[in-house]
Symmetry: C2
């Protein structure tokens, strides 16, 4: 591609509203432009990277046995009403009416559409399993679009769906897709982890998120420093066992703690370490009240509370509800003297606190000398807290560290969530109707592009890995007005393309400084500069990643380029 | 692709609501499914054909110097308000509000978005010309979606836009794109014509439509039987010259014609040939009234009226307006005694009518013995009628015939319609601000797929041309339960794919009759059947187009297939 004919508008300044590197550089290097908040155009370079990523995804999907199709963005409201998500999805689902006043959703995801499609065509176990995928534009009206392509409102996604007659078949395909995802992100050059994730609002069971490690990530990952264990921090179990010290039991005493509410305040006021405090939080769990206790230096993990109680909705009780039920403010809650209708559950660590401190359910008062086995009753002890850095890894190998991650992929066992609500049934070998068992698998394609840009850059610009670079080679003629230089550059442009290299040829009448700065900004793997020694047939190669340069005779060029690009 | 793993739901019955061949067969052969009125899913086979067409388009676009990008479907209302089309596009433009109540259009076309994009980045003549294209999903809320993919509400389109500093540059690119389009449709195997078209609501000047000839087409093409001349019938000029016969002038007589209104009625009642009648139609042209006269056997072409009068809106006067102005009903209109404020224009043929008949502007009365040069005045004679079959071709070669066409492509000189309203200016060589001159170029990609299906089918199903066939070869094992057959088919599946053939392998446990019927329905170019003679290494080849069959030893298979597929 001749640069003079392409559309690569580079910027010298960092755009004011771009907070993170990938967003800044993709704008500056002319890969994308914003059309509206969270809505972007992929300019020619950006489009090429998308296509490279898509090609990798297609290869890996086909290897996993998935077949490509293309479903529409316009989705009838009736389908979403069947699944119930028309009502539960909220304002992220963009909605519109057609000229006949019929309701449509703009595809945020395609579970409903694919379930309807497959249920209408497949009636027999003989035609399962089936894995279908598409690469398609999705729409989600994010409350706060940000970070460029990382959280947009219109974006490119690969979504796949599988249909099965047995859990074993789903497990098998899930594992294949997991492998395919790992291959995709590996081939894109990403430093990522597959983390155990929460099934969240999707309503399934087993699920992994593929997280690209990055400080700008919005999710926190707990990973082992000695194994490949990684989980969304909400999902990591705590395997610490606690023992009460042999400290003798002290008497339970109610003490005056004026205006002391938080653990920090109480701990400091009473000069007691936080580890000796009991943090008490009142939750409303599917409508009933539950007091959850954790150690003062720990945090309650609501997902664990939810899973323990097999609940649907877990939310903190409001100050009004707390006041009404417990006769005190939130800061004075404690497990002693709790009304009968309140269930008390506690993290294992609470049981081991010797002579601890807790709220007295009376404003400005706390208890000291609190011992769980003597002073209050707990319906159930369980793992209820967030894992922390320094905790042992749940797989028993190494110690937990935290990292930030950008979610680029998600594999998910849906089970019969959609087939049951939408009546996607098949006849089994015994002629009985059964709901199909489903899996779904997503990759944020445009987000993956941004994640690569986030991991591959330096102070001069982007540094694309070969596999996803928009072109392999940036060919630059330093001064196209000099015949030798222009002629050699023109020749190399033809020759290298014939040899299968993808070449961006900067044939513009710009100053060399501008060309070199643009080249660094765009970040193709290798730059070939045709300059002063053109008449001798010598050009300069520069490796973008290392900055390494080398003068090469054109007779050696192909071989040298192949070496660097392989 | 193994058929057992794909999703190709074939149907034996013709779907009730599919009126035309392509729609019926694409449904029956499992290429598409309808999701909502005018909204379709492309199943795996359909998706593959789309990809084949897209690959051809990409090659031809790049050869023409166009560069690919990808713009969003969500388009800010502000852009459409700038161009004015927010108000003029009507209900075909789908609109929605985001969660912050901001208005968006769903991209029906991208003139606004691309003009905004280019105006923001390109300020100098040095960076023009520029040709950008995308292949993308478009949304148009058709009043009456029909004929499957031919007139849908969500469809795949290739749209390109060019930006220039001179008319010559636009002309040059226009011609390149015209060639590229001809190549695309030729490579897709289509029987098409590039026809001179009306610039319509787009507001440009030169324009051609690429029409696939088909009885189900919604447009009528006038083409020469002796040259490549072809035009939308609205656009074909009439080059007939007329001479008044030497019939002596008869007196003008008002005759009673009770209840005779149409040309047919009057002609029959007075026993006068239609060629002697003058058809008078009253139009409202940009608010003023114009009486248009054509010969009784001709039809008024409103586009010609519009162009002659350089008007924006031409519409028939209502019966009420006619009554008020002319004091009579529509069926009694005529050019004699017309109020001063009414302009009278006439087709050239009217001047040559000797002793004709026309309405008397009085109910139940007509004039006979009418002669234009004696009895009424005409402000302007011009070519105002539709061309007819049998007329001489406007290029002077041959005779005009009519055909029906499906519009699959459109090339269009926009001029400064968008750059002026949206302020897309550049600095010319003299430092002066100038509006960019633009062209736009569209291909209906999914419509092209349907047009191919419409031209390539027989009583058994679809008959894909090699270049766009979803696979080259349909490999069938007649009875996979027989080891020899299954083994040979499995081997051939691997072998043929390694040799670069695209193979759909029917490995299903279905009866041979079902497999053969499905195979004919799907319509891949060559079927390779592994049956009884598998143990001898002999398979049968069947050419879908001709029905020709041949037994071939596997050692000769590759060569034979290459011959048939080239």
């Amino acid at each position: 591609m001749k640069q003079s004919m392409s559309f690569i508008p580079t910027l010298r300044e960092v755009p004011a509203d771009a907070e993170i590197k990938s967003h800044q550089l993709l704008l500056r290097a002319g890969f994308i432009r914003q059309n509206a908040s969270g809505v972007y155009s992929f300019l020619p370079l950006g489009k090429r990277v998308l296509q490279k990523i898509e090609a990798i995804i297609r290869e890996e999907m086909e290897r996993a046995g998935a077949v490509e199709l293309l479903m529409p963005a316009l989705q009838q409201a009736e389908l979403w009403q069947e699944s119930g998500r028309w009502y539960s999805y909220g304002p992220e689902l963009m909605r519109l009416k057609d000229r006949h006043d019929r309701d449509f959703a703009l595809g945020a995801t395609h579970e409903e559409v694919i379930t309807a499609l497959v249920r209408d065509e497949i009636k027999s176990y003989k035609r399962l399993p089936l894995i279908l995928y598409q690469i398609q534009t999705k729409f989600r009206d994010e409350k706060r679009p940000r970070f460029g392509l990382l959280r947009g409102r219109e974006f490119v996604m690969k979504d796949a769906y599988s249909f099965h007659t047995s859990q074993e078949s789903l497990d098998e395909v899930y594992n294949k897709m997991y492998e395919a995802y790992a291959n995709v992100f590996r081939r894109c050059g990403l430093n990522f982890r597959a983390v155990i994730a929460d099934s969240g609002a999707m309503g399934g069971k087993d699920t992994h998120e593929f997280m690209v490690l990055s400080d700008v990530g919005e999710d926190t990952i707990a990973y082992s420093d000695a194994s490949d264990y990684a989980a969304n921090i909400e999902m990591a179990p705590v395997i610490v066992t606690y023992e009460r010290s042999d400290e003798p039991y002290e008497p339970l005493v109610k003490v005056h703690t004026p205006e002391q509410k938080s653990i920090e305040e109480v701990s400091s006021f009473l000069n007691v370490p936080k580890e000796k405090c009991i943090k008490s939080l009142l939750f409303k769990v599917d409508g009933r009240f539950v007091l959850v206790l954790v150690r003062g230096d720990h945090e309650v993990n609501e997902v664990k509370v939810k899973n323990l109680l097999e609940a649907t909705i877990v939310e903190l009780a409001t100050p009004e509800e707390t006041k009404k039920l417990m006769k005190c403010e939130v800061g004075s809650l404690g497990p002693i003297g709790v009304p009968e209708e309140v269930t008390v559950i506690a993290d294992h660590a609470v049981k081991a606190i010797a002579n601890g401190v807790c709220g007295a359910n009376e404003e400005h008062y706390h208890y000291t000398g609190v011992n769980a086995d003597r002073d209050f009753s707990v319906q159930q002890y369980a793992d209820l807290r967030f894992i922390q850095e320094g905790d042992p890894s749940p797989d028993g190998k190494g110690t937990i560290r935290f990292a930030r991650g950008i979610e680029v992929g998600h594999v998910f066992k849906l089970g019969t969530r959609y087939s049951e609500t939408m009546n996607a049934m098949y006849l089994d070998e015994n002629g009985r109707m059964q709901p199909m068992i489903m899996g779904c698998y997503g990759i944020g394609v445009s987000r993956t592009l941004a994640a690569i840009a986030e991991q591959y850059n330096d102070e001069h610009g982007l540094v694309w890995p070969v596999a996803v670079a928009p072109f392999h080679i940036h060919l630059i003629s330093v001064n196209p007005k000099i015949d030798d230089q222009r002629q050699l550059a023109d020749d190399l442009y033809e020759k290298l393309q014939k040899e299968g290299f993808e070449v961006l040829y900067d044939d513009r009448a710009e100053r060399p400084g501008v060309k070199f700065a643009d080249s660094d900004l765009i970040g193709l793997p290798v730059r070939v500069t045709v300059g002063k020694r053109a008449s001798e047939g010598i050009v300069e190669i520069k490796i973008r990643r290392t900055g390494e340069t080398e003068e090469v005779h054109v007779s050696q060029l192909t071989e040298t380029l192949r070496r660097y690009l392989s």
